[in-house]
Amino acid sequence: MKYSYNWLKEYVPQIPEPKKLAELLTMRAFEVEGCEKSGNDFILDIKVLPNRAFDCLSHIGMAREIAAVGGYRLQTTDYSLIENKSLKIKDFLSVEVQDKELCPRYSARVVVDIKVGESPKWLQERLIACGLRPINNIVDITNYVMLETGQPLHAFDFDKLEAENPKSEIRNPKKITSSQFLVPKIFGGAPEKENE
């Protein structure tokens, strides 16, 4: 997977120089297959093998690994949600999982007052650095969160879900696809090539 050096640095302020970092990771964790300058940033191509895909195929995950092998402090951002406590999600949305074996857990949330448009420049740049194409702020944020946390997610247009019984159906994760990424890979542990 491709990682943005600047992005990693946000989580590990003491991160070593790109070349040193590549050497540190190669000797202590993963083979670094590429380290290229791209504008103000460096793109590291890090080969994460299947045993560590679950926790290291994301920037926070990789930052955690770097902090661990290098003895640096990890600094992740806190966030808070603005929720309207008087509204009940059950009135808006239900989720039906037809095969619990293939999808043990699926969570959804309704976000309101969204204006579709372009993502901020810095976010677009990060997506491009990691090999993704910016589409719009909705699609981009799902991809951004995936690259950040390793959790794949998908945005549905609430207005276009069936109105009478608003329901996001998951029959078999293999069947659900979106224009952004394939859902099945989420649950099986995504091989890195799918993210490139």
Binding site: T26, M27, R28, A29, F30, E31, L49, P50, N51, R52, A53, G188, G189, P191
Partner: protein, 345 residues
């Protein structure tokens, strides 16, 4: 006169029979057909004869002349043909005999024998196994279940089940020589030391450093107390002896489902003594093998009790070693069967 011609004919027959070369023939021709030859004499003597006799005798002399000409011509041709065939069949018994060309070993065979010799001297036995393998030995027994992402690490030739030979078990062309770890441990008890050289198959497109079939050497050492330190010692000794120089070994973390922990093995560049060259991409290290401590699950697959034994396993590409030793720049040459290539070894 009549008698005379008959005598002449008889004499000529005898003489031509005895003529063995062109010179003899030529003098024979002069003697009979020359300007002062016997035939000319006969013709001369005709002058004095009456017309009737002249006609009759003249015919006889002419027949004789033709006969002699024919005979000489025939004999000349015979002599020429004879001399040619002699030339052709000329046999010089003094020429020394030539050597029958003898076969020689394929570069991979040479390397394989060197590798085997070194390991045998360290107490390893050489064992072999099937190239067509069951899914169980190639994957499942080595801790690679069907839905495991590690299966994507190797592209596999899956083979349709052959009902005659197996109870419709899933078959694959072995992707590594590791299935022999389990096959061997099923039948043998530790302590054990083996190497398994053999051909393996990968479903991938070929280039200068990849082929869809190549050779691997698998190694396995199991006992109560085997550690990474033992592995380091064995592998360092092997590569030092193989390359005929002191070689440093470094281990990097890696992952194989059948070992835990797993590592990649780099050796110090044997071409530039770590000064940095084209072959080691200026890094001073050559990535050469994969290894690790045998995963307890593999011992379980082999029928050993969990946590009873410890061991290391390793594998490396034989073709890669041959390429390094002989400076071959394209792996595909090894399977090409190209005599221009093979005759160099």
């Amino acid at each position: 006169m009549n008698m005379n011609i008959q005598d002449i004919t008889n004499n000529f027959q005898k003489e031509i029979e005895n003529a063995q070369d062109n010179n003899a023939l030529e003098s024979l021709r002069v003697k009979y057909l020359g300007r002062k030859g016997i035939v000319a004499d006969l013709l001369n003597s005709l002058k004095n004869l009456p017309v009737e006799k002249k006609k009759q005798q003249g015919k006889e002399v002419n027949d004789l002349k033709k006969e002699i000409e024919e005979a000489i011509k025939e004999k000349t041709q015979f002599l020429v043909a004879d001399s040619q065939s002699l030339e052709k069949e000329w046999f010089d018994i003094s020429i020394p005999g030539f050597k029958h060309p003898r076969g020689h070993f394929h570069p991979r065979t040479i390397i394989m024998r060197q590798v085997e010799t070194i390991f045998q001297s360290m107490g390893f036995s050489v064992v072999g196994g099937p190239e067509l393998e069951t899914d169980w030995y190639n994957f499942e027994a080595l801790n690679i279940p069907k839905d495991h992402p590690a299966r994507d690490m190797q592209d596999t030739f899956y083979v349709p089940p052959i009902s005659e030979y197996s109870d419709s078990e899933d078959l694959v062309m072995r992707t590594h020589t590791s299935p022999m770890q389990v096959r061997y441990m099923e039948k043998n008890n530790p302590p054990l030391r083996i190497i398994v050289p053999g051909r393996v198959f990968r479903r991938e497109s070929t280039d200068a450093s990849h082929d869809y079939q190549f050779y691997q050497i698998e190694g396995l050492m199991v006992d109560k107390h085997i550690s990474v330190a033992n592995f380091r010692a064995v592998i360092t000794e092997f590569f030092s002896r193989f390359f005929g120089q002191k070689v440093a070994v470094r281990l990097r973390p890696s992952y194989f489902p059948f070992t835990e922990p797993s590592f990649e093995i780099d050796i110090s560049c044997v071409f530039c003594s770590q000064k940095g060259c084209r072959i080691c991409a200026q890094g001073g290290w050559l990535e050469i093998a994969g290894a690790g401590m045998v995963n307890q699950k593999v011992f379980e697959s082999s029928g050993y009790a969990r946590n009873e034994w410890q061991g290391f396993a390793f594998g490396f590409g034989l073709d890669r070693l041959a390429m390094m030793k002989y400076k071959i720049d394209d792996i595909r040459l090894l399977n090409s069967g190209d005599l221009r290539f093979l005759r160099q070894f």
